[in-house]
Every structure is written in C-alpha cells, then in structure tokens.
Symmetry: C2
Subunit: 354 residues, 2 copies
Amino acid sequence: MKRRVRIKDIARMANVSVGTVDRVIHRRGEVSEESFRKIMAILEKTGYEPNLIARSLSSGKTFNIVVLIPNPAQDEYWKMAEEGVHLAEEEWAHHRVHIKISHFNLYNKGSFKRAAQSLLKSNPDGVLTAPIFHQEALDFFAACQKKKIPFVLFNNNVSENVGLGYVGQDLYQSGQVGAELLQIDQKEPGTYAILHIYDDISNSTHLKEKERGFKDYFLHLNGSKNKVTSLDLNMGHRQTLEKDLIKLLREKGLKGLLVTTSKGASVVSSVLEKHGKNGIRLVAYDLLQENLHYLKKGIIDFLINQNSRRQAFTGVAQLANYLVFKREPRVPYLFPLEIITRQNLSSYLKSMQH
Amino acid sequence: MKRRVRIKDIARMANVSVGTVDRVIHRRGEVSEESFRKIMAILEKTGYEPNLIARSLSSGKTFNIVVLIPNPAQDEYWKMAEEGVHLAEEEWAHHRVHIKISHFNLYNKGSFKRAAQSLLKSNPDGVLTAPIFHQEALDFFAACQKKKIPFVLFNNNVSENVGLGYVGQDLYQSGQVGAELLQIDQKEPGTYAILHIYDDISNSTHLKEKERGFKDYFLHLNGSKNKVTSLDLNMGHRQTLEKDLIKLLREKGLKGLLVTTSKGASVVSSVLEKHGKNGIRLVAYDLLQENLHYLKKGIIDFLINQNSRRQAFTGVAQLANYLVFKREPRVPYLFPLEIITRQNLSSYLKSMQH
DNA sequence: CTGAAAGCGCTAACAC
DNA sequence: GTGTTAGCGCTTTCAG
C-alpha cells in the first residue's frame, strides 16, 4: 500500500524545492529549461496526481456563484430545482463556495432582464441559469462573456450555447420518448396530440424541441397512418382551455396526449377524468404532487421525470468543480429520460431521499 | 459573505486553546465541567460546522476497503460493478482510502468462502460485498462483526442485514415492475412466466424475491384471470433449456416473459427470435451489450436497469463516508427501478458517461 | 486539565 | 530562477 507521491517527493527527486515544482505544475513560468524538463519527466514517470483536497484548502480562494432561476413559489418544478441548489450549497461550502439564488418571474421576460442586470453588477465568479427566455438569455450570456464570467445552463439548452456547458435532458429525444409511450402496443392507427400548456404567455422555444421529437417519431414509424397535432393552451383562460380540450377529446380515434409542461398535466388530467378517459393515453412530465395523484389514479399513464432537483444540483457542481478544481466540464451533461409508472414510482420517491 | 466559524474562532471566544475546543468537539474528555459548558454553548450559538475537508487532510489516517464481488470475467454485469469501484477509488484516493478488489466465482460457494477467509486475514477497515450466497454471506458477516469490521451490502440484501447498510434496488418491487411492464395494455387475460436462468447452479434466494413481487402483482390485479408460472433453467444444459423454453412458448395465451438474470435475457431472446415473437412480450434486466442488441431489434420490449456500476460506486462511497467523515449511512440506500425502452436507451448510455 | 506546536499536501508571497 | 516560509482548518502529541 504505497502512499501517493507528493510535491515534496518530486522536489527531492529532482533536487529542487517544492516552490519550483509547483511552478512547473501550474506552468507559471520563471523556471529554467533544465529544471522544467527534469521535473516534467519525474512528474510523468511517477504519475503524479495532485491532492485536490489539499489544493483547495490551501489556496484560500472563495467563490461566489449566482443561480438565476424562476421563482419557486410559482411552480413546484422550480421549487425542486431550488432544493437541489441548497443541497449543492451544503456540499461545496467546505470549499468556500458561496451561492446566492436570484429569482425571476417565469412569465415575465422583463423580470429576467432585471434580475440578470443586477446579478452582473455583483460580479460573481460563476452563474447557473435556466435559459427560459431565449433572446433575453442570449443577451445575458453575451454580457457574461464580456465580463468573463463562466456560466452553465440547465433545464433547457440553447443551440448557441457558448458557456461552460449544459446540464439536462435532450428535449428532442424527450419528445420521442413521449411519443413512444403513447404509441406502444396501439394496434390501430389514430390521433396523437402534443399539448403546450402555460400561464399567461408562451415562452416555449424549448417546448418546440419536444414537439419536433414527437412529430418525428410518428413520421418515422413505418407505414403509420396516424394523425399528429399540436395545441397551445393558456391556463390563464381556463374556460377556453377546457372547451378546446374537450373538443379534442371528442375527436374520434384520439389515442394519446403528451403534455409538455409539468404544470399542465393536472389541468388535462382533471378534464380527462370528468370527460372519461376512454382509453386515451396520457403522458406528462415530472413528479409534482398533483401529477403523482393522477398517476396513481391511472389518469396519467406515464410520467417522464426531468429531475430538476438533480439537474440544479449537478449544474452547481459543474460550476464549482470548474472554479475550485479547474475541472473543465465535459459538455453537455445529459440526463436520462426516466420513465415513471405506478409501479416504479415509489422507488423513485425513495431514491430521491438521497 | 461572512466566513464560516473555525475552531480557532471558538477558542478565542471561549478564552481557551484550540486543543480544548477540539477535545469537547470530539467528546474526548479531559476537560473541566466549566470549559465544556462554555464551549458547548458557543458551539451551539455559532452553529459551528467542522470543515470535513480539513479534518480528513489533517487526521492522516489511511483506510483499506476490500470489495468482494464475483469475477468480472464471468459476467458483464459484474464487470460494470467493478468499473464503479474503480471510479470510487479515484474519487476517494484523496482521502487516503485504498481499495482492494477480491473476486470469487459466481457459481461456486467455496470460492466465496475462501475469498472471504483470506480477506478477513488482511484486517481491512471496511468491506463491500454482494451477498450472492445467502448462508455463506451470513457466516462471513458474523465474522466481520466479531472483528468489528464495518460492511456494506449491494446488489441484493439479506433480511438479517446487520451491517452498515444496503445499496441497491428493492427486488420485490422490481418483480412488480417487471410484471406491470408485461401486463400494460393487455386486453385479454393470458399466461405470464418468470424465468430464472443461471449457470451451473442456482444461487437464487434473491431472485425469488423478484418472483414474489411478480406473482403478487398478478394476484392483486383486480379480477384478473391470468395464469402465472415460474421456471428455473440451467444455461449449462443448453439443449434442455431450449426445449423447455420452446414448450413454454407454444403454450396458448402466453403473453409475457420476465427473465430475472441479466445474462439470461440473450438466451431467451435468441430462442424467441427463432421461434417467432408472436406478440409475446419480453422484459429483462440490465444494459448488457447483448441485451441492448435485442432491445433495439424489438425482441426485448423493456429492460429494467439495475445499474451495478452506480450501485458499487455508491457502496464504496457509503463505506468511505463512514470511515473518513464518520457519516452513518442512512439505510437502506434504494435505487430507482429504471425502465429502459428503445427510445430512452441512448439517453441512459450517454448519461452513463459521467 | 490545558496550551503549544508540528504537520496533513499544497499555494503563494517574499526573499535572495 | 529558485528556495523558504507562512498559512488553509483541523488533529494529535507532548509538555506542563
């Protein structure tokens, strides 16, 4: 059980001081050609690996990370994300990583812009955010770049991502999985709908990504004669929403619905429950309380778990690893598309306790 | 951004030295009533949290963990488990945790006993193992207890578990999920079979747990007129195996098969492929190469991912956390029952790269 | 009972 | 260019 080689060991072997070794390890220059070569050789030969724990302890740096996410009071999904941030906060506190959470209104681009503005003023060492508003996010990222503030995205990606990375699911594939779950074992062709249900305004560039996957799935299904539609519904106008929904449900041959927003599932579920399920399959997103309720009841057939909690946790970890240990995140950090049924639900709930 | 309070701060506030503070923190005694009280009060008030990183760095202790698992050459499932161990090894090396892997023959109780014996002689600080052989495992655990060696189980639990904890899935529930996946959207009652397929000998107390869940699922299905059977097949006798299998496949009304061993899936798949799938649903375990092949081909309909890699990784982590940071593992550490389909498979493969 | 001091492995400021 | 040294926060030994 031979111990790891330390800087001190390298120094002795090279007949130099630890200071010099440190300089070549960090390529800080001010080292003679000769020493550099010799030390590098020994580093190689011994397979030196720095003790990152000691490094972080000694460096004495502190880091401020800002997490910019929707207000958790508006949405259980974002509440779970915030929990993940708090978990990460505890974990990284030992490394002097401090986290500040900044909220914006999920349905108000202006609030995002304002929050982003004041965030920039505080000159954080890193930023984690969910780029819900496409254009506004791009502007923000440009500002971050100018100020050389590293940033990580989660929940949804933007194709122009120039940050440190993305943590989350492949939304296109997510749409495909949703489609598959609706279509499994359906013998007859029929109608399948993808529903975007939001509050107030649509901010849905990333929901369209799910829609693409959804539609492509049916397109590539060999010889399928299915009809595929999409529908945008506003939770703000509950009356119209229900009317539109019921109209859809009445359509003959309707086989399945995929609801893209985690919040929208309960609305659809309640209507479907009143109207009668009639074998119409329903797939939705995330382990929100209401969704669990309808899953257990059999109104929702499958949930796809986006795990905002772990996404946020991982997002912070990516950033902190970069700052503290200079570990460049491998991009993107893709999450599995977890399928939740009535039977495996409890195993997911239990595993979330960790 | 006020910094965390350190031992040094506490000491100053209490007008004592850091040594004394350390003594009360660790209840090492040799401290006057008065000092103890005063320091405790300050500890409380300031909400002192030790810096575990610094603690581990300073303590200078090294730990030897032995991982006792089946030979990875025998089985891809165990190969993945070993990968997880290696990952954990890297991660914990900074904390002076050394890991030694010891193999036994998956089909030979004697080899387990021997490996366990010699393991005990090395007096490790902790043990992680998969208790494949029930009775032998119990004997081994008793020995560990006597020598006060903490141990963690993974892959399958034993009800008499007196160790530090269990890392893995709930096998009873696993059987239920398997049953559900076979039964989803089946309109007519029919026959469902659970197959235990092993090499040489059966070591299957834990497979029976899956069987219990499987059977109970159908039992509790309201008003179901399904027939449920179980079958033990020996891969060593390929001829008999195929004959028995084909006999089963010919049974009228056969709707679905659950294969409990990850290795068995490919055998059943190949037979099913030759014989014709005829709408017989097949559910199996784990992301083995061959299983992926048959999943993509549509022979296997669903896989349940046991994630031996992450199980082993987590098992080591539980043990290391206990040894290094004295963190008592919350028991048991249950893993989700992940459902893999053709569409979400790639998301799992990608997410495994982390 | 208590304090002082050395040291874990590494960084960084400061001499020479 | 290079070596020395003082920490980072905590543990542990050794005087007293």
